[in-house]
């Protein structure tokens, strides 16, 4: 009887695959909740920072920071590309890379040079293959990214800006809209885009202790870092959400496949029995 045994083995193997994908789905779901929390926890800092920076920028400060002024000609740009370390999360990373590669090609056609800072193994592998000029990299951030690990990589890009090697800096990440939607986003970091909230004209300024320059410098560095951290936290939540959805789809598909195979198996078994019976009957008739 052809196939019945093979089909049974196949059903079994798909069944164990389904178990794995189901488990991964549940793990991703619980990790996603924590990643979302982390994402929200990072918000107050970024918000407070934004307020202080907006104040400092609109107050009549005698010192203007380099990050606040846009340069007239752009001959080089930098990208900080945030990706996940692991795969099996649907089209999350490829969608992001597609978007950024399109943007890079536009810049390239305009004759603009490109420097890249990669965060996460997927971006590292992809942009190495792509042949981009990767100047710094961070991988293995794990499920709880720490700001500390990002400092170095971000600093290289900020130094590049200050020393004129790049004239604009973007961060590229997946924006967490909700569990089903992750939006690949390219955001300009430097020069700092003025916030939309219309600030009333300030007639006061802070007391700077000891003086404005070092404080504004630190403030700006921290601000950029916090934005990058925020993108990493966002991307992390996206990764878990995307993985959850992908694994759910895989589990469903495995279920469907098993149902179909079960039907085929039953038919094969039935056919075997029928055949055997008819053999016996015809055998008996011949006697």
């Amino acid at each position: 009887m052809a196939g019945a045994k093979e089909i049974r083995t196949q059903i079994k193997s798909i069944g164990s695959t389904r178990k794995i994908t189901k488990a991964m789905e549940m793990v991703a779901a619980s990790k996603m909740r924590r990643a979302q929390e982390r994402m929200h926890m990072a918000r107050p800092y970024a918000e407070k920072m934004r307020h202080v920076v907006a104040h400092a920028a609109s107050a009549n400060t005698e010192y203007h920071h380099a990050y606040l002024a846009a340069r007239e000609s752009v001959s080089n740009v930098g990208y900080i590309i945030v990706s996940s370390d692991r795969g099996l999360c649907g089209g999350l990373n490829s969608n992001l890379f597609r978007k950024v590669v399109g943007d890079m090609a536009d810049n390239h056609n305009k004759g603009v040079g490109i420097n890249v800072c990669v965060i996460g193994k997927k971006a590292s592998a992809f942009f190495k293959r792509y042949g981009a000029n990767v100047v710094s990299e961070v991988t293995d951030l794990g499920d709880t990214p720490q700001l500390e690990e990002l400092i170095g990589a971000v600093k290289i890009m900020m130094d590049d800006y200050e020393e004129g090697r790049i004239d604009r800096l973007y961060v590229v990440y997946n924006n967490f809209v909700n569990t089903m939607t992750q939006k690949p986003t390219i955001e300009q970091l430097i020069p700092v885009v003025p916030s939309e909230e219309v600030e009333t004209k300030h007639h006061w300024d802070y007391l700077y202790e000891p003086e404005a320059k070092p404080i504004v410098d630190t403030l700006m560095d921290r601000y950029i870092e916090s934005l990058v951290y925020q993108s990493v936290a966002d991307n992390n939540a996206c990764e878990q959400a995307a993985r959850m959805v992908a694994m759910k789809a895989a589990t469903d598909n495995a279920g469907k496949l098993i149902d179909e195979l079960q039907l085929v198996y039953n038919k094969a078994r039935q056919a075997a029995i029928t055949q055997e019976l008819s053999e016996i009957v015809s055998g008996a008739a011949a006697v």
Binding site: P44, V52, I215
Partner: protein, 139 residues
Amino acid sequence: MATIQVDIVSAEQEIWSGAGTMVFAPGEVGELGIAPGHTPLITRLSPGDVRVIKEDGEEEFIFVSGGILEVQPHVVTVLSDTAVRGHDLDETAALEAKKRAEEKLADSAAEMDYAQAQAELASAIAQIRSIEKLRKLRK
């Protein structure tokens, strides 16, 4: 008694928030005492304890490893660093990140990159599939 709102946040989480009658912070140029109605001020902090005296007279100690302190007449915001920072430390971290990138580019042949292999495998499988489809169509 007049109070002042105190928010202590770091890039990773909100650390402490509440009202106090007096705040002490380790400013870079010396210890600062801030009472409600203080002039707007901004300064960097050195690693140390931020002390908040609450309305009931109890004290709250929060360790910060540096950061920025912003004072508005009714709000004190501490933007705490998550790690001990210093110019040299930052520099070292930057160099490390750079080195990693360079090493990655250099030893492309050394160990087979798993992610890359996977990507190549996926594209090979896709090619095979489309070839098979074409064959079926021809038949």
